[in-house]
């Protein structure tokens, strides 16, 4: 279970406050969607959960199964089960995707005090996961994300998610830049990973993604806070009416 309480966050140099007392609870097995206009702090929230160093935590706490994430390094959070699918996945030239996947999987199992994967087991898992997402084998030999299209990069994020088996997966605008076919493949990949002990935080601008990844809860974010919480029908309402009501609510 992920619990965020009264979270206040500013950009590191203190110039701008982005999260203003955010509260959010996501139960095991729950798929929560966060929607909101540009600049409402959605991406910041995902970075702060994952531990990106550019932010200053002014107040509040983030607990994963009772453990305080804010006291942990980003790699320790990853080992504890936090996964962030990036909106803009980074390129690592010269590092074969396969090599990167193995390094990441081994680093996490080491951190958890488990043994490293045997190479044939690793290969089998990667091959199977790649097939499901329509990722060709030769892509796995290329430098990570180097020269990949937007859709390929997003699929690679989902493959990493599948292999790393997180307990909370955050998808930061995974639908941006995807055509409808890619969107379907990515969504199927995500749906296949839904389980009773894994929760999701799906960040998106548009309702479209939520037709494919159907959320249990929908939260509207504005000005660094959750201003409205509802079921999946809330997404449809937003699609029809826009964010204007919620934004002005806060302003008032």
């Amino acid at each position: 279970m992920l619990e965020i309480r009264n979270l206040h966050v500013a950009i590191e140099d203190g110039s701008k406050k982005i999260l203003n007392g955010l509260d959010l609870t996501i139960h095991n097995g729950e798929v929560a969607a966060i929607m909101g206009p540009n600049g409402s702090g959605k991406s910041t929230l995902s970075y702060v959960i994952a531990g990106k160093p550019d932010y200053e935590i002014l107040d509040g706490e983030i607990l994963l199964d009772g453990e305080n994430l804010l006291e942990m390094e980003p790699d320790a959070r990853a080992a504890a089960g936090v996964f962030l699918a990036f909106q803009y996945p980074l390129e690592i030239p010269g590092v074969a995707t396969m090599t990167f996947l193995k390094a990441a999987m081994n680093a996490q199992s080491r951190a958890r005090g488990e043994g490293e994967l045997k190479t044939p087991d690793f290969m089998r898992r990667v091959k199977l996961g790649a097939e499901k997402l329509g990722i060709p084998q030769d892509m796995l030999r290329r430098g990570l994300n180097v020269g990949f299209s937007g859709g390929e990069k997003k699929r690679m994020e989902i493959l990493q998610m599948a292999l790393l088996e997180p307990s909370i997966a955050i998808l930061d605008e995974t639908d941006s830049g995807l055509d409808i076919d890619a969107l379907k493949i990515v969504s199927e990949g995500v749906n296949a990973l839904r389980s009773a002990d894994r929760s999701f935080l799906v960040i998106t601008h548009y309702q479209r993604l939520l037709n494919y990844i159907v959320p249990d809860t929908v939260h509207v974010m504005s000005n660094g806070r959750i201003v409205k919480t509802g079921g999946k029908e809330l997404a449809l309402e937003l699609e029809a009416n826009g964010y204007a009501d919620y934004v002005s609510n806060v302003a008032a």
């Binding site: 959070r77 990853a78 936090v82 030239p93 010269g94």
Partner: protein
């Protein structure tokens, strides 16, 4: 990833000091009096039991050296060197000329063992190492042992110390010594001609493919001692050899001078592949101590269709001043330079290559990867020139620099000169930083900061690592990671 794991383990094994070769070996030594003079040159020559012609050659070089001035065009800074404040000869006392390994002082064997260099042929044959490598081990001023000599002899290959070659193969040494790097080539090379003490000699006869990798390990052990080694490799028509040198030194507070000269000659259709893993002591974090590495390396593609390839992994030394070069004299000859230069702490690197196109249809390729961290300065300096008669000369240069942190510098200084209209030179250069975004991405996937840096750097140098013989590529990869230890976080 196995290499990353090894790197991390290796880094963990290191305690306070990250330079793991910093130990010194206590030995009784035979030293020349401190300083430099004609008498010292005579002393060295006498110690080596050299013939008269060699002494004359040295003295001539010494006299010329006195008239020369230290070059100052490189982007490196250091206090003026007092050449009289150093020892020019130091040899372990026991068994000055051992015939077999059993005669070598066990303390020296132990030192090489600590360095991870297998000298005992039985161990190598027993499968301690996967492939066979013949080793010439040079300790301070003398070669202490050369392995696999008998087996190489059967193939007609001569692999011995240069001191031995001067006595045993004077006709070859006289013919080739100084024929690639002339006596007056530059200040340090001339100094080397006067006072060089040992090094390796390789002769590959016509049509022979050397049956194993040859390698030399140089170790500076004595305090205040300069090491001036001299290496000469000759590949006759249609022959091939792959040669690797490795270098380490103990941790000392004072700076020590290393001024080597390496000459390579390839005749028609011959090929020499020369790899270096240089890990001299780089000095401490504040720039105290460390080796001044002033080296002249040059290969002469004398014959048609011949090829010389330099691969270097430079992680050590306080100052590196080194430009392994190729003279592409033979028609259709080819020169290659692959370099990884890592600088951290207060290290200064000014390194690159020269590709001199003289013959027709000559080609050259330069791939240089500079990695700067800490407060270091890392300069690539390269010259590519095409002579008037070098019709269809081709060069491709790619220089990439990677910066880690905010206080280091990377510089690229290419000189391109063509006197033939048909020459085509291409130059690409990039400078990048390990971005915080890349680091965060890797760490989000579970990698520690050290692991992430190692992974990104390994990706950056991949093209060059691939050029190294397999075993050395793994070693080099570890070395690079260790050299960058402490550069992040």
């Amino acid at each position: 990833m196995v290499a990353v794991k090894e790197t991390v383990e290796q880094v963990k094994e290191l305690d306070v000091d990250q330079y793991k070769y910093g130990f010194s070996t206590d030995l009784e030594v035979d030293k020349a009096p401190k300083g430099l003079s004609e008498d010292i040159v005579r002393f060295i020559s006498a110690k080596k039991g050299e013939p008269e012609w060699m002494l004359e050659w040295r003295l001539d070089a010494y006299r010329r050296w006195l008239t020369m001035t230290e070059p100052n065009w490189a982007r490196v800074h250091y206090p003026k060197i007092d050449f009289n404040d150093s020892y020019y000869y130091a040899a372990p006392k026991k068994n000055a000329a051992p015939k077999t390994l059993d005669e070598v002082d066990p303390a020296i064997l132990d030192a090489y063992k600590k360095l991870g260099i297998p000298l005992r042929e039985q161990e190598i044959l027993a499968g301690v190492q996967t492939s066979k490598v013949a080793v010439d081990a040079v300790f301070d001023s003398v070669s202490v042992v050369t392995t696999f000599k008998e087996e190489l002899k059967k193939a007609g290959v001569i692999f011995c110390s240069i001191s031995e070659a001067i006595k045993e193969h004077p006709e070859l040494v006289r013919k080739y010594l100084g024929s690639v790097v002339p006596v007056t080539d530059n200040y340090y090379a001339t100094l080397n001609c006067a006072v060089f003490t040992d090094g390796s000699f390789v002769y590959i006869p016509e049509g022979v493919r050397c049956p194993m990798e040859l390698s030399t390990y140089f170790r500076i052990n004595e305090k205040n001692t300069g090491q001036f080694e001299r290496t000469l490799i000759i590949a006759e028509k249609g022959s091939y050899v792959s040669y690797l040198e490795g270098c380490t030194a103990p941790q000392r507070d004072e700076n020590q001078l290393h001024a080597a000269v390496v000459e390579l000659v390839t005749m028609d259709d011959a090929e020499i592949k020369y790899s270096t893993v240089q890990n001299w002591y780089p000095g401490d974090a504040d720039g105290k101590g460390g080796i001044y590495n002033f080296v002249t390396k040059r290969g002469d593609c004398r014959g048609a269709n011949s090829k010389i390839s330099w691969t270097q992994v430079e992680t050590g030394s306080a100052i590196t001043w080194k430009y392994p070069s190729c003279i592409l004299r033979g028609d259709n000859s080819r020169g290659e330079f692959y370099s990884i230069a890592v600088s951290n702490g207060m290290q200064q690197v000014d390194s690159g290559t020269k590709m001199i196109h003289l013959g027709k249809n000559t080609t050259s390729r330069i791939i240089s990867k500079g990695i700067s961290a800490g407060r270091s300065q890392n300069t690539y300096r390269g010259q590519v020139s095409a002579h008037r008669k070098a019709t269809n000369a081709r060069n491709f240069t790619n220089c990439d620099s990677l910066l880690i942190g905010e206080q280091c510098g990377a510089h690229t200084v290419p000189y391109l000169e063509s006197k033939n209209a048909s020459a085509v030179f291409e130059h690409e250069a990039t400078t990048s930083k390990i971005s915080e975004e890349q680091m965060f991405y890797c760490r989000q996937r579970g990698l520690s900061a050290e692991e992430a840096t190692a992974l990104i750097v390994n990706g950056f140098v991949k093209d060059v690592l691939q050029q190294l013989p397999m075993e050395f590529a793994v070693e080099a990869q570890k070395l690079i990671s260790i050299s960058l230890e402490g550069s992040v976080g």
